[in-house]
Subunit: 209 residues, 2 copies
């Protein structure tokens, strides 16, 4: 297996953190997104969509989505379990994973890519150029504020996002909260449960890789 | 188990079609979204997010996302397999599922909810009201055209979306293509592979439930 990673983007960080929790090190190629390495012909042969992470399997199959990559890694390296130990827990984790991606990760990305000067004409990832939509940046910011409030509420009722143990959803949510710095949106001072959880997850060795 | 369904919305249709492929009938409650039944106090107790589908398990756990619901049903009713028979196939299917949802389903929804008069002030599902963004409706339509072209290309290389057999991704993609009628966007006349596949999937009994 070969892992295409990048230190400056949130999606590959999710996979990197997942691997660190498993205690696994894969052959890794760093892709320098900040300097446009994803636009080179060499990387185009790896992934014509120009995105990371990519997990290339030994038979040449390429997995291009963080959650799909983690599903594969969960099967290859089952301990510690991060995606569910029985059908019900697997489904609950998949539901939260989708929820945090849609209402957290994507809301932040919506604000970031539609307002940052560096993404002018690049409001969506992928091979097509799309103009920024300022109203969408503003809506994304509103959604991020709501996401923080919802996450704080959720964490007032359980230690981790999906229940009483650390799972992949805590990785997804933690990376999203960290990524909100890119849009200069801070976790509100009174979000005590969210801060308690952020400090706990941030103290794990996997948060520093 | 109890399934909360709706005949006029694409997400519950995906679960309905998945169940029909499995040959399974669950206790079902139809929710009349067109007349606002999701806004009643009764449904609010089922799902405060006001969305369908919902799968309520016998212990009261509620699954609120189509893919998470299908994961649970795949475990409960393994034949025929629709989500992958080994770790690699499961990961490839999860990757395509995410791709079709993001670039197909969500693009159509983006156009629909940001342009339809019936969704004024309701540009996103969920409990919060968001104003429509006309530029986002237009961008959604461009993305849908690109989605059709990409799907046609993919189906020029394989019989079904993920390979040589019918999977959950064909359900997701078929329901998206059908849903594109809501924004009056037609599959292009020259998209022969997409049409061949649409006719084949549309002829399955599960497409009519």
């Amino acid at each position: 297996m070969k892992f295409y990673d990048c230190l400056t983007a949130p999606s590959p960080r999710r996979v990197r953190m997942f691997l660190a929790e498993k205690g696994v090190t894969l052959e890794t190629k760093m892709v320098d997104l900040a300097n446009g390495e994803q636009l080179t012909d060499t990387f185009g042969e790896v992934n014509p969509r120009r995105t990371v992470p990519v997990l290339e399997l030994d038979d040449g199959t390429k997995l291009l989505d963080s959650t799909a990559i983690c599903m594969y890694l969960e099967d290859a390296f089952p301990d510690p379990n991060l995606m569910g130990r029985d059908p019900k827990e697997r489904a609950v984790i998949a539901m939260w994973q989708r929820d945090i991606e849609t209402n957290g990760t994507m809301a932040i990305m919506e604000c970031f890519r539609n307002s940052s000067k560096g993404f002018r004409n690049r409001a969506l990832t992928g091979p097509i150029d799309y103009e920024q939509i300022p109203a969408l940046a503003e809506r994304g910011r509103q959604r991020v504020r709501h996401f923080f409030a919802e996450l704080n509420f959720r964490l007032s009722r359980s230690e981790y996002v999906t229940g009483d143990r650390f799972t992949i959803v805590d990785i997804t949510a933690f990376v999203a909260v960290e990524f909100s710095r890119a849009i200069k949106e801070k976790v509100p001072d009174d979000a005590a449960h969210l801060k308690r959880w952020r400090d706990a997850v941030g103290a794990r060795p996997s948060a520093s890789v």
